[in-house]
């Protein structure tokens, strides 16, 4: 590299670059020293208060219940759906809630609809329903890995082509949030997070102070969500609970074919939270998926319990536990 070229490449060093201008470092320091706001302690508290305050949604509160079953992510898995409805019946649950994502991954999307209706399952809209109902071309996942995009698109197309327009219209009419009372506790039910239908709340990336603020803003005593595919429960220092109920549509990337759901009950004013493993006829589901020519990668997941595609959504901790 010639001295002139080198000089050109390093001309900006020690300079600030507002727009196209290069500003000497001393001037930058002088300007930044006085830039920005410097509030008084009192003004800061006011700003914080305004920032943290949110309007509470006008959603009516359902219940009160003493025991409910809540699950998410059906992913066309009608056999697991049947099994979870059975389980809810055996638990004596007074109501059953589904937090959305009915399609994708599994076979024959129409099969879950009558089960949801007959089972009186109170269902929320997930990002999958939102996409299907609005007629989007793909699930809009936008993975970095071309292989992931290939599989995501494939299962979205399959679901979209095998869903009647009546079913899709019904999906479009599902609510985005519900509130229920279990004993004394008012719980907010959402798909991803209260703020965004497709926000991921993983255990290792949903810190306590973040969740406390979120629950303050929604003024609820607990939050139930799904969307990540991995179940977890965290009791906050304030005594409130956040539960990702997991999904019943595919295993939780743990090497077991069973899937997960949640049971919540009133225990003398306290909230009892149980995450439960559900065994169902996964062998038959795998055969049905084969008959529908669904990708072998998906069938392997159903059989062996390890995710094979779209793993890039996982945070470092969850990815480390993953086989692939």
């Amino acid at each position: 590299m010639s001295a002139a070229e080198n000089n050109k490449l390093t001309a900006h060093r020690g300079k600030a670059t507002w727009g196209e201008r290069l500003v000497p470092l001393e001037r930058f320091r002088e300007e930044t020293a006085v830039a920005g706001r410097r509030l008084s302690e009192a003004a800061r508290l006011v700003e914080q208060g305004n920032f943290l305050r949110r309007e509470r949604g006008a959603t009516p509160v359902e219940g009160p219940y003493s025991r409910v079953v809540v699950f998410g992510g059906v992913y066309n898995n009608h056999l697991a759906l049947e099994a979870v409805l059975d389980a809810a019946h055996k638990h004596g649950a007074e109501a059953v809630y589904c937090l959305g994502d009915l399609g994708g991954f599994g076979p024959s999307p129409e099969k879950v609809w009558p089960l949801l209706l007959e089972g009186d399952v109170r269902t929320l809209q997930g990002n999958y329903e939102e996409s299907l109902a609005s007629g989007r071309e793909d699930c809009n996942c936008g993975y970095t890995d071309p292989r992931d995009n290939h599989f995501a698109t494939l299962s979205y197309r399959y679901t979209s082509e095998h869903c009647s327009s009546d079913f899709k219209r019904w999906m479009g009419g599902l609510p985005l949030q519900r509130r229920i009372r279990v004993g004394q506790r008012e719980l907010l039910l959402v798909h991803g997070s209260p703020r965004q239908i497709n926000e991921f709340l993983f255990h290792s990336t949903s810190p306590i102070s973040f969740l406390e603020v979120l629950l303050d803003q929604e003024s609820c005593d607990g939050l139930l969500c799904t969307h990540t595919g991995l179940q977890w429960h965290r009791r906050l220092p304030s005594g409130r609970d956040v539960v990702n109920v997991g999904v019943i549509g595919r295993p939780a990337n743990d090497g077991q074919p069973g899937v997960w759901y949640a049971m919540l009950e009133d225990r003398d004013g306290d909230l009892g939270v149980e995450l439960l493993r559900l065994e169902y006829d996964h062998t038959t589901l795998a055969l049905e998926m084969q008959q529908q020519n669904l990708p072998q990668e998906f069938i392997d997941t159903i059989r062996h319990g390890w995710w094979t595609t779209c793993l890039e959504i996982l945070p470092a901790r969850e990815r480390a536990r993953s086989r692939y």
Binding site: T17, T144, D145
Partner: protein
């Protein structure tokens, strides 16, 4: 060239809807490399921003927790030049999940072992992003420096050996980098290196700092105006949910730290008001939808 003042008057303003992401310029602008595309022009001698000490960081962590922060990012320069880096990580992991952006050059096996121990403790993820700009020395080294390709891959190997699995971040300095075949070559490179679960993220290039001289600065039409405001608002921009801390205060985002006007205040609570998207880099953010998600 339109004046900055004129663009400030017409620029749309973005509201901080939540403080999801807090960045720390933990090594300031000091780096052991001087990449030609570095948008904040870091180098061994660039002292625009100095190291952040653990003592300086603690109050910000506390304030961020009050404001409901979701994730913490550490960048520089090169974070591991900061002698307190590992204690800083330990403290930050008490508050939330942490991601460190590094060039991979200071990741010796001993350090990687300690980092893996940190990653295994506690409730929250500790993640690393290592920058690489080409899948061969011929493309990477002209940008990141002579011999860096091999040294970066050595750092990645050391992390993987210790049980960590970094995300490799690639800027689209070469058009081919972001193409389907380009991505597959990066994945292939990592698999050859023995990375069983390769992770990759592509980033657009900001035409400021060193990059302005490498590829030419922005044209004057590359600005956001009021009329560009979209129905869905500005929620896709980082500055609607992030702030950046340097030794000189709190800035709107990690991109504008060399701009006096990017500074918003001294504490996080000083910076909760809307910010005017007057800078040409805002145009890149808007057009390419930059996000910090993995």
């Amino acid at each position: 060239m339109p004046s900055i003042e004129a663009s400030e008057a017409t620029a749309p303003r973005v509201t901080l809807s939540s403080l999801d992401t807090l960045w720390f310029q933990v090594a300031g602008t000091v780096c052991n490399l001087a990449c030609t595309h570095c948008f904040i022009s870091c180098s061994p001698t660039n002292r625009t921003h100095e190291f952040l000490s653990l003592e300086a960081i603690l109050p910000y962590l506390e304030e961020a927790a009050t404001l409901g922060v979701k994730e913490l990012y550490f960048t520089g320069g090169e974070p591991f030049l900061n002698p307190e880096m590992e204690s800083i990580l330990e403290q930050a992991l008490q508050v939330g999940p942490v991601t460190v952006l590094t060039n991979g050059l200071l990741l010796d096996p001993e350090r990687c072992r300690r980092l893996n121990q940190l990653a295994d403790q506690g409730d929250y993820s500790l993640d690393f992003r290592v920058s690489l700009d080409g899948y061969a020395p011929e493309t990477n080294d002209p940008i990141r420096g002579e011999g860096t390709f091999d040294r970066i891959l050595q750092g990645v190997s050391n992390l993987v050996e210790a049980g960590l699995n970094p995300v490799i971040t690639v800027t689209e300095v070469y058009e081919d980098n972001g193409s389907v075949s380009g991505k597959e070559r990066f994945f292939g490179l990592l698999r050859d290196l023995g990375v069983a679960k390769p992770r990759l993220k592509m980033l657009p290039v900001f035409q400021i700092g060193a990059e302005a001289e490498r590829s030419g600065a922005y044209d004057s039409w590359q600005r956001l105006r009021d009329r560009d405001t979209l129905d869905e608002g500005w929620g896709h921009l980082q500055c609607s949910s992030c702030r950046m801390v340097t030794d000189q205060g709190v800035w709107v985002c990690p991109i504008l730290v060399n701009e006096p006007r990017g500074k918003m205040g001294q504490t996080l609570s000083d910076t909760l008001e809307p910010f005017p998207l007057e800078h040409p880099a805002c145009w890149t953010c808007h057009v390419y939808g930059v996000s910090c998600k993995t």
